[in-house]
Symmetry: C2
Subunit: 204 residues, 2 copies
Amino acid sequence: MKQNNTFADLKSEEKLARQKIIIQAAERVFAVKPFNKVSIRDIAREAGISHASIYRYFPDQQSLFVEAFFRGAEEIEQILDQLINDSDTPDIGKISDAFISYLADNDQYLRMLTHFMLDGSLSTEKLEKLNAAERHFFDKFDKLFRKMKKPEPVRPLSHAFFAALNGVLITFRNYPGRTPEEVRQHMLNIARIIDRSFSNIQQT
Amino acid sequence: MKQNNTFADLKSEEKLARQKIIIQAAERVFAVKPFNKVSIRDIAREAGISHASIYRYFPDQQSLFVEAFFRGAEEIEQILDQLINDSDTPDIGKISDAFISYLADNDQYLRMLTHFMLDGSLSTEKLEKLNAAERHFFDKFDKLFRKMKKPEPVRPLSHAFFAALNGVLITFRNYPGRTPEEVRQHMLNIARIIDRSFSNIQQT
DNA sequence: TGTACATCAGTGAACGCGCGTTCACTGATGTAC
DNA sequence: TGTACATCAGTGAACGCGCGTTCACTGATGTAC
């Protein structure tokens, strides 16, 4: 596959590399600005290109935004994967800690995810892709609950666990008058209660 | 207090009544349009007045939006209050059903709440008001958990329970390819798992 | 009673802005002969 | 080797739009004398 078409391949690889640069610039902007304030012009400025150039790489704004989100989602998936595969008796506390910590520190992904979940104007195709990413999370948690010897079906448990952790992140994000460190600690404390209650469940 | 100033009183009552009409128009618009797409002009059109008139009643857009949210929050509070005060042995399942059902059917309030929770640009004063409303919810759940004879402190339980229910609502709102009725049923099923796990908690 | 004045809800028009997207163009690079 | 052509990333300017907010004005109502 690589011995012919090498020139064309190289070109499309370069194109992908440039796409990636734009996505990374977007992530940096999202980390700093509220989701609905981020504009194509902001991202272009951060990437050091003209805002018209963005349209050489993405058909429209929504596509770029969704791609930026998936970068983060993949990273979380990898972290969870490691934690869950590492041991035969994984610790639910460690998993929820990792999930909460990552999304508390990189809260642009949480804001993106929530925005997409609440936004009715997402195209069906994008929604489907988003849903597929969610299902990946559920799969990871399924694996966790199976290792914890929870009775089948474990999928509803995964739904509830994922939703509950999301809720903690969203609900306590904006606690006024607390430092980020205090907020994070509070989230972890509340997540601990959820861990424990899920640990106790024996039948669904 | 009412025997003097009656004319002035009447006037300010009328003013409040007109404010209320605008807020109700806003709620109707929010029920139908994504939060970040709702404009002052939309609300004015729905209320049957000029968009400039809105500024006779609200200093700016954010204030109107926040007021509209509080109308809904008060209604949920009343529903929960009734359910929790009704019985000495309240059923946590009924309470979470009521919470989920109301916010699944009137999901404009959920979207508003989530938007405010995620939005960094809310003024401190508004954030504080929002937080006070949240604390009201926590208080209700505290009462519930005390009646369920959970060990003190119950406040962390309330935090976790509120956050988890919120998470369920947000996470499953946009399940693609499901009817609203199926979505609602799924939310109730997942909430049931959370209820049960909280019922089992005996020490925090 | 009439008259001059104050108050204030309501409004259409305008301001100024930032946005997503498109367009016509430039210039670098590679290709064909 | 040079030359004519094709491709395509990149761009500044412009389009068209909707927005929040302000402004100057109208007209109804009440008040003072």
